[in-house]
């Protein structure tokens, strides 16, 4: 990346300190000043350092970071205790080893991660100097706030720059934000007020740096004139300039203040549920430790009291005195803490991190979660909540782009109350031809031209020609679609690497190019355009639309299909070629951009000929209908008709948009003043802007409405079905219309006919009182359903406004109660905030594990509110992915992610944690039991080195491998039997009881491991470490074989690690015993292992101990496996069968399940009776659209419902399109 900074020496000086809203002035006048006199010196430089450490500061800073963890302080404190001679249990230096190893390993991990960040910084900050024009090449890091920077085409923007000049005559600069948010469509930026850098003497005042990529506010102040600007004038660091030869501007934010850096968060740290539960268990261990130490201390005092005089083996202090027994007790308490510290598993946290890294590796490697089309793997963005995937109880899903493709297809439209279908393989261009028959005849001949079949085209032309024209003009103009020409396209693709990069994301982005027209309105589009290009004299350039939303792209393409081609869009004007071939160039006065509160957008243009100021508005019917002018009865009729059509569209699952037009006669300029004031505001800017927009959008005249189809993604019904069977509540929260949403919900099997009733809280309830009554009424009805059978369930469809009321504090309880009774929840017309509030409410009130999945910016709140956020990298950019913990590319991947990976990860981690606790308790208790035979003096009969090795080498790899690789049930069977997932939801893998059973087992096993050798060698001439050797060995075997019992599937890796651990134990122990004569002074394990291994008794003791220690667990497993086999065990049995047999069994299993499930439906007739007794404001509908519901394979998006087609044009149903020619 190259960057030019213009330098221009100048001799004035007037340094000022920046006031609280950042003020930026040009740096040029201060070029020769010393740094401390620079006016902009207080702002961050452009050097970016995302790595936390430097080579020198690594050690101190990393250590500080690590000691923020309580556990590390605890272990260091214990190691420090060892340095007190009265208290120490081990060699102080040696006791430091474990904590040092842990700290070192963590430091290495941190250093590695930091190094990777460093590498990416270095790439960003180094550039090759080159001089050109009046600008001087600078390195990125030398750029400062207030500098003028020129960026050339295809350069990466080095800082956040306020655009002041662009090479484009219109002052437009295009940039690609793929680096920032992954969106590949070009974003337009424009110059608000052109300036020459040399004479720039204005002050830029902007808001404080924040991370909102789509928002920026500030103004330029020059001679008391304020010029407001927003995000549309800001070039963002990290983006690439495209289609613009050069753009220059003043740096307003640099380095870490830039929006991209503020957005560049580290992987989010979420604490998983298992982990927080585990922390409680750690506290249990602390309590256990405390008790054991107390026993040790009290025991020591009692033991001391048994002696009437000082025995020979008591060692007096250096001054010759004996320690008083109570003081000795306190000392022993501390010694015991040191001795038994391992009961708090020191390496558990590290092991968990390693295990999760392994799990993440396997999840991302899954080929089934790979999307070939987008060349995208599953991404795990949060590294530490893999196991939460196995405990999900509620899934909150977005609809558009998540359940559906979000590839919009223009389907139908209604113009002035008349409805027209738009067939995909349209028959002829008759309609357009008739409409503008005096125009281009080639259009009429083109058979492939998509068309609106119309019965009496001529008639309509006569009456409504102008309105139709306006409608399509609105379609073409009223949007923010950017047109890029063929040449521009070539420019982008110039760089070979760029081209490959570009090819891949194209299909995933919302760029709808001419070549990628499959999903767009007209199949014959491309060919048609080609013909047209050939025949047209004007020789229109290849057009290429870049839309921020797929809806807009679909609309523009639809308009183009009917001859209204959007040719160019600049901030100041927009050009449309009419079917007649004439090009109209409107002057754009203002664009009132879309926001979710208004749910509409408008464009204000001046007609080239009539000079009328015209406002075109498009938006959701809810945002439009109430703002129509109610003057003429004719328009009311049209509005009613249109509303009827809209309802039909919605029933069909189409997305609807209304288009209006208004001719602004006067007071536009009054409004403009207000508008500019709002744009320049810093406080309450959004509110003011919204208000001015709303002021303008009144008294609209309805032109018509469109229905856009959004196809369901593949396998969505199956996935939802599977999630259901897995006991997961699926809730769909969408911004779409109620009818559209209900329809999609039926087609994706969220709602189905087994649902007895479906209480719809209608938008009728506008007041809280009504809502409250309705809620209590509904709740009172619920038990009626429940009496049938527990499984009989109710679907809840609720709309945004009602939802808003229900989310009020006093209705929350009822709402939550209602939700628990419903099998399906569908919320329509919700705002992003409501989505996240629903998630938060259910999550906090029910204490359930929630997952939110979505693809767009409007799902970000919800994704962040849920325990697990899943982003779909779809058509609407990467914002959802950026906010998510896991990113997938299709909704169907959720099935394998949850049912297989979630299940595995949860079980693996839960088992590993339990095992870890068990392991430490089992081992440490050996030492504890020994205290009863050494006067509670804190002696260890195992050399401390062995204890360190034991934890670090001999028994560390197997549990980690267990946590990463164990597999109870194979993926195939898990996918076939989703109900196996339920165990994780109820924390079946990791209960408090499981923990205590494991601890009890650990106590038992340690007793066995201690007392079998004890009784064997009791009274003999055995020495301390020789006694410790069989205990240590037996304990190792017990711990390893215990894991062997728990391991569910043995792959070659398992064998290698398990056998390897045992081999390593013997090799290391033998080597250590042979080499260490007096290297570890007070303890002398020299030759003990060899001595023991030459004694047959050793083996006999070890075998007996291991068998006795594991006998209860093994027997219980066997008994449980036979007497009360779990579903998982049955599934494993099925897993072990030969394939043919397995299928048979799986079928049987399912049949059995279906039998259970179908039982309630047998009595559904009873349910119908209940459904008739309703409160009036509440509709419990048996089946809202029988026609749709009864054809099982129906996907409304593909086949418009028969009723709809009949009402319009019975003979022109899509598959009978040919007949229309006969007419």
């Amino acid at each position: 990346a190259r960057t030019q900074v213009r330098t221009d020496p100048s001799e004035t000086s007037c340094p000022g300190s920046p006031p609280s809203p950042p003020t930026v002035v040009s740096n040029l006048p201060y070029e020769d000043q010393r740094p401390r006199n620079q006016p902009n010196r207080r702002y961050a430089g452009n050097a970016v350092k995302t790595n936390k450490y430097t080579l020198w500061s690594f050690l101190p800073i990393n250590l500080c970071e690590q000691f923020r963890r309580l556990a590390n302080i605890y272990f260091v404190g214990i190691a420090a205790l060892n340095f007190i001679p009265e208290v120490n249990a081990f060699q102080p230096q040696v006791a430091l080893i474990p904590i040092c190893v842990i700290l070192t390993l963590t430091a290495i991990k941190d250093a590695w991660e930091d190094f990777r960040r460093y590498q990416s910084d270095r790439d960003a900050c180094l550039s090759h100097p080159r001089s050109q024009h009046g600008f001087v090449e600078r390195r990125w890091k030398d750029i400062q706030v207030g500098d003028f920077v020129q960026v050339l085409a295809n350069d990466i923007i080095p800082a956040d720059i306020l655009l002041l000049h662009a090479s484009d005559p219109n002052g437009v600069c295009h940039m690609e934000t793929a680096n920032l948010d992954g969106e590949t469509n070009l974003k337009q930026r424009r110059v608000k007020s052109p300036f020459d850098p040399l004479s720039f003497n204005a002050t830029v005042i902007c808001e404080k740096p924040n991370n909102n990529l789509n928002h920026f506010k500030g103004f330029l102040e020059k001679d008391q004139i304020k010029i407001g600007f927003g995000i549309e004038s800001l070039l963002l660091r990290g983006c690439t300039v495209r289609n613009t030869a050069a753009a220059s501007g003043i740096v307003v934010y640099a380095g870490h203040d830039t929006k991209s850096m503020l957005n560049n968060n580290r992987p989010r740290y979420k604490r998983s549920r298992v982990e927080s539960k585990m922390n409680k268990e750690v506290l249990c261990c602390v309590f256990l430790l405390f008790c054991m130490c107390l026993i040790g201390a009290v025991g020591h005092v009692i033991w001391l009291k048994t002696f009437s005089s000082v025995p020979i083996y008591f060692i007096p202090d250096s001054d010759g005195n004996e320690t008083p027994s109570v003081v000795a007790g306190v000392y022993r308490f501390l010694t015991m803490i040191i001795l038994l510290q391992v009961i708090i598993p020191i390496s558990l946290y590290l092991s968990i991190e390693l295990v999760k890294m392994g799990q993440v590796f396997f999840i991302t490697q899954d080929i089934d979660l790979y999307d070939k089309e987008k060349d995208m793997r599953m991404q795990c963005r949060a590294l530490n909540i893999t196991e939460d995937l196995g405990q999900i109880q509620y899934v909150f899903s977005d609809k558009t782009g998540t359940l559906t493709e979000n590839k919009m297809v223009f389907r139908r439209c209604t113009i002035m109350g008349t409805e027209y279908p738009h067939t995909e393989n349209g028959e002829s261009g008759k309609w357009v031809g008739q409409l503008w028959s005096h125009q281009d005849t080639t259009v009429g001949r083109d058979n492939i031209l998509p068309c609106l079949p119309l019965r009496c085209g001529m008639h309509i032309t006569v009456y409504h020609g102008a309105t139709h024209l306006e409608f399509f003009l609105a379609l073409a103009i009223c949007n923010t679609v950017v047109v890029s020409t063929e040449t521009a396209q070539r420019q982008r693709v110039r760089d070979p690497v760029q081209s490959t990069l570009y090819d891949i994301p194209t299909s995933s982005s919302s760029v709808v190019s001419e070549d990628e027209v499959q999903g767009t309105p007209c199949k014959g589009h491309t060919r048609r355009r080609q013909t047209w290009t050939a025949s047209s004299l004007a020789g229109p350039k290849e057009v290429h639309y870049e839309a921020q939303s797929p809806d807009e792209a679909a609309l523009v393409h639809a308009a183009k299909a009917y001859g209204f081609t959007l040719l160019e869009r600049t901030p100041s004007h927009v050009s449309v070629r009419l079917p007649s071939g004439t090009t109209l160039t409107y002057e754009v006065l203002d664009v009132l951009t879309f926001d979710s509160v208004r749910s509409r957008m408008s464009i204000i243009v001046r007609h080239p000929h009539t000079k009328e100021i015209i406002l075109y508005t498009k938006g959701a019917d809810s945002g439009i209908m109430e703002r129509l002018s109610q003057m003429k009865s004719e328009s009311r009729v049209i509005a009613n008709k249109t509303q009827k059509h809209l309802d039909m569209y919605a029933n069909d699952g189409l997305r609807t948009l209304c288009f209006t037009r208004k001719v602004q006669e006067f007071n536009y300029y009054d409004w403009l003043v207000l508008r500019q004031g709002a744009m320049a505001a810093i406080d309450r800017k959004d509110e003011l802007v919204r208000k001015t927009a709303a002021d303008m959008e009144t008294n609209l005249t309805l032109l018509g409405a469109t229905g856009i189809e959004d196809r369901l993604q593949e396998n969505v019904p199956e996935t939802i079905q599977a999630l259901r069977e897995a006991g997961i509540q699926v809730c769909v929260l969408t911004g779409d219309k109620l009818e559209t949403a209900v329809n999609i919900a039926y087609s994706c099997k969220l709602l189905d006919h087994k649902l007895v009733g479906k209480p719809v809280c209608k938008p009728v309830c506008v007041s809280q009182e009504v809502c409250k009554n309705m809620l209590s009424g509904t709740l009172a009805q619920l038990p009626l359903y429940d009496t049938q059978e527990a499984k009989v369930s109710v679907g809840l469809v609720i709309d945004g406004r009602t939802l808003g009321l229900l989310l009020d504090s006093d209705l929350q309880e009822g709402f939550v109660q209602l939700c628990t009774h419903c099998r399906a929840i569908l919320c329509c017309r919700t705002t992003p905030l409501q989505k996240s509030r629903v998630v938060t409410l259910l999550r906090s009130k029910l204490g359930v594990m929630t997952l939110a999945i979505g693809d767009g910016a409007n799902d970000v709140n919800m994704i962040q509110a849920a325990d697990v956020g899943v982003g779909i990298s779809g058509q609407e950019g990467m914002q959802a992915v950026m906010a998510s913990d896991f990113a997938i590319s299709r909704f169907k991947h959720l099935k394998k992610l949850l049912l297989v990976h979630g299940h595995w990860c949860y079980n693996r981690l839960a088992n590993m944690i339990i095992y870890f606790f068990y392991k430490n308790v089992a081992y440490v208790n050996l030492l504890f039991w020994y205290q009863f035979f050494c006067g509670f003096s804190g002696t260890a009969m195992i050399d401390y080195w062995f204890m360190i090795f034991f934890n670090l080498f001999f028994t560390s790899a197997p549990p980690i491998m267990f946590g990463i690789m164990d597999r109870e049930v194979s993926a195939a069977v898990l996918l076939q039997l989703p109900e196996l997932y339920r165990r994780g939801q109820h924390e079946g893998g990791y209960r408090r009881s499981t923990f205590w059973i494991a601890i009890a087992d650990a106590f038992y096993q340690s007793l066995v491991c201690f007392f079998v050798p004890y009784w064997t060698y009791k009274g003999s001439d055995i020495d301390i470490f020789t006694l410790g050797t069989p205990m240590n060995t037996a304990s190792l075997f017990t711990i390893i074989f215990h894991l062997a019992i728990e391991i569910k599937s043995w792959t070659v890796v398992h064998w290698v690690i398990m056998v390897g651990s045992v081999v390593v134990y013997f090799v290391v122990t033998l080597a250590f015993c042979a080499m260490c004569v007096s290297c570890n002074p007070p303890s002398d394990p020299y030759w003990t292992m060899q001595e023991q291994m030459s004694d047959p008794m050793f083996y006999l003791v070890c075998i007996l101990t291991t068998v006795v220690a594991l006998l209860p667990r093994y027997t219980l497993h066997a008994l449980r496996g036979t007497l009360v086999p779990s579903d998982h065990l049955r599934a494993r049995q099925i897993d072990n069968m030969p394939p043919h047999h397995r299928d048979l069994w799986l079928q049987e299993w399912k049949k059995l399940k279906d039998l259970c499930a179908s039982y309630p439906s047998l009595s559904s007739s009873t349910a119908q009776r209940y459904s008739t007794a309703q409160s009036p404001s509440l509709t419990l509908v048996q089946d809202p659209s029988p026609a749709l519901a009864q054809s099982p394979s129906l996907t409304p998006v593909q086949d418009p419902s028969p009723s709809l087609v009949q009402s319009l044009n019975p003979k022109l149903a899509p598959n009978q399109g040919l007949n229309s020619a006969a007419l």
Binding site: N265, V497, D503, S937, G1019, D1021, P1081, Y1114, A1118, L1119
Partner: protein, 369 residues
């Protein structure tokens, strides 16, 4: 991890080939379809049910019971004789000696205890002394030694480890061997006499060597100055432990068994694991195959009673024992093997029953064939 931070490199055109995780047209991000990465490695999936574990239980039972019987018989064949000579009882010959608390009595107290063996001891007989309630495993006691000094390190000889405190330096001279363990070394002398039926006392030859581990004697314990025979000179400048009557280089007359390599010292220095322990004192070797090592008859144990045990309520014992491959007499392991074997066998039967009663239920009910 990488996904979270936007990576300029990818878009920049400065592609370094393999380093970029994506964007390369030839290399896709498609994961490798290998058995390992797709977690499809062939696996053995054992299922623990009554049916599958049955054989294990029977096999354990069948193996353990014979082993247990073998161990039990072996243990029973070991002959062991034990005599407590603490002298707590007034009637005991050693009662007078036991009244002394002091370590530094120069006058040694002797007593002799007669005993008789009902059975002859055939093979080599190991003679132990046993102490009770002696916590040689007390943490601070265990540490109170300097292995490096005992290994013949001259520096450590002159400046023993701090661990030896307060038995490190006496009258400004380093103690050799330092530390509480050495200081409290067992110093009774035990002698055995066979009383012929005609009344003559025949001393039984007791081997002083071969009682310590070979590695201890030859590797771990060494006299300072290597094989220098003049131990007096080597130990010059050191002093004897406080409670020892004589310095370390006068422990024995045999130069191979003197100083730090004295086997009595080595045996003592190997601290016992449990408060009641025995330590090998002497070995009575079998003379020939015709006569037993210790024939049936009367014996006398002569004791030079130096070691006070009253301060900790201790007991002193002399133990004679023959030895088998499994060491000394201990019936525990045999009994344990037999009982565990029986329990396993019993559990096997129970599981067999359960398997027959319930095991088939799972397998047949789901599929009505």
């Amino acid at each position: 991890m990488m996904a979270s931070s936007y990576n300029i490199k990818e878009e920049d055109g400065h592609h370094s080939g393999s380093s970029g995780p994506g964007g390369n047209a030839v290399r896709t991000k498609k994961p490798d379809n290998t058995a390992f990465k797709q977690q499809r490695l062939p696996a053995w999936q054992p299922i623990i049910t009554a049916g599958t574990v049955l054989p294990a239980f029977f096999i354990i039972g069948l193996i353990f019971i014979p082993i247990g019987i073998g161990l039990y018989v072996t243990s029973n064949n070991i002959k062991e004789f034990e005599i407590d000579y603490t002298g707590i009882d007034i009637s005991s010959p050693c009662f007078n000696c036991s009244q002394s608390y002091s370590w530094n009595t120069t006058t040694s107290c002797t007593c002799s205890i007669p005993f008789s063996l009902d059975q002859p001891f055939e093979s080599n007989v190991f003679m132990y002394y046993g102490l009770s309630n002696f916590y040689q495993n007390h943490r601070r006691y265990v540490k109170s030694r300097d292995d490096s000094q005992l290994n013949g390190n001259l520096d450590s000889l002159k400046a023993p480890s701090k661990e030896c405190e307060p038995y490190r330096i006496n009258e400004n001279m380093p103690i050799a061997p330092c530390g509480a363990i050495a200081n409290s070394m067992f110093n009774d002398t035990l002698d055995l006499f066979y009383i012929d039926p005609n009344g003559t006392r025949t001393p039984i030859p007791l081997m002083k060597t071969g009682i310590a581990w070979w590695t201890d004697k030859h590797v771990k314990f060494r006299n300072p100055g290597g094989s220098s025979s003049n131990l007096t000179a080597v130990f010059y400048g050191t002093t004897k432990p406080l409670s020892w009557p004589k310095p370390v280089y006068e422990l024995d007359t045999d130069p191979e068994n003197n100083g730090f390599v004295n086997e009595d010292l080595i045996v003592w220095m190997r601290t016992a694991a449990l408060p009641t322990f025995r330590k090998l004192y002497r070995i009575i070797q079998k003379k020939n195959s015709l006569t037993p090592t210790l024939p049936r008859g009367n014996y006398t144990l002569d004791i030079v009673y130096n070691y006070p045990v009253r301060s900790f309520d201790g007991r002193k014992r002399m133990i004679l024992s023959t030895i088998s491959w499994m060491g000394g007499k201990n019936p525990f392991l045999g009994i344990a093997y037999i009982s565990v074997g029986s329990v396993c066998f019993f559990l096997g039967v129970v599981l067999l029953f359960i398997h027959h009663k319930y095991g088939n239920r799972n397998n047949s009910s789901d599929i009505p064939n």
